[in-house]
């Protein structure tokens, strides 16, 4: 199946970054783990993204005015829910009803942000306008 230019670029970029990571791993004995793992994660993400987009969309437009509108609305609502969550957590913590660490709060915020974004996107995509 014909591949779009964008997906080809993603695959090439991902492969190149992975190769750089492998070369660094071989030739740089004391390479910091964070650089190697960062490069590998980036390379894998780009490659998987390219393959997934190709399988899912083929040569169709990945996004258009409708999906961009839906994404913008979903992001707005998600941000509002996340801020509400942060506010509620702060008040609960202030009144001693919730004892938690900064690490837990941050990970919960990320979960709420991503979870609500996915839910709102699905809702608006089915709704129409």
């Amino acid at each position: 199946m014909e591949m779009t230019k964008m997906n080809k670029q993603r695959l090439i970029l991902g492969t190149v970054v992975l190769l750089v990571a492998v070369v660094l791993l071989i030739f740089w004995k004391n390479a910091p783990d964070i650089i190697i793992s960062g490069l590998m994660a980036g390379g894998l993400a780009s490659t998987i993204n390219g393959i997934y987009s190709h399988i899912r969309y083929g040569v169709q437009a990945e996004s258009d005015e409708r999906t961009r509108k839906i994404s913008a609305s979903a992001a707005t609502y998600s941000w509002f829910m996340t801020l509400t969550f942060v506010g509620v957590s702060a008040y609960l913590n202030e009144f001693g009803l919730l004892e938690t660490t900064v690490k837990n709060v941050l990970s919960n915020i990320i979960l709420v942000m991503i979870g609500t974004l996915i839910l709102f996107y699905a809702y608006f995509a089915r709704k129409g306008e």
């Binding site: 969309y57 040569v59 169709q60 437009a61 990945e62 996004s63 258009d64 005015e65 409708r66 999906t67 995509a125 129409g128 306008e129």
Partner: protein, 75 residues
Amino acid sequence: MLTLQEKVSELKTRIKELRARYDLTQEELAKKVGVRRETIVFLEKGKYNPSLKLAYDVARVLKSKIEDVFIFDDR
């Protein structure tokens, strides 16, 4: 006291009919105007209000005027 009578208009489209006339699938039409097939589906169902540009592009591909493709029905 003045009351305003709200006119609610409903969008109807003749996209499906015109597509059949020119033997275009939803996917082919979507590709020609640069949108996803799902967007054409929602347009045909009248569930999505296109931008002026999109409406113009769809009408142009279907060799029709915008007002012949997209009809606002005043209720």
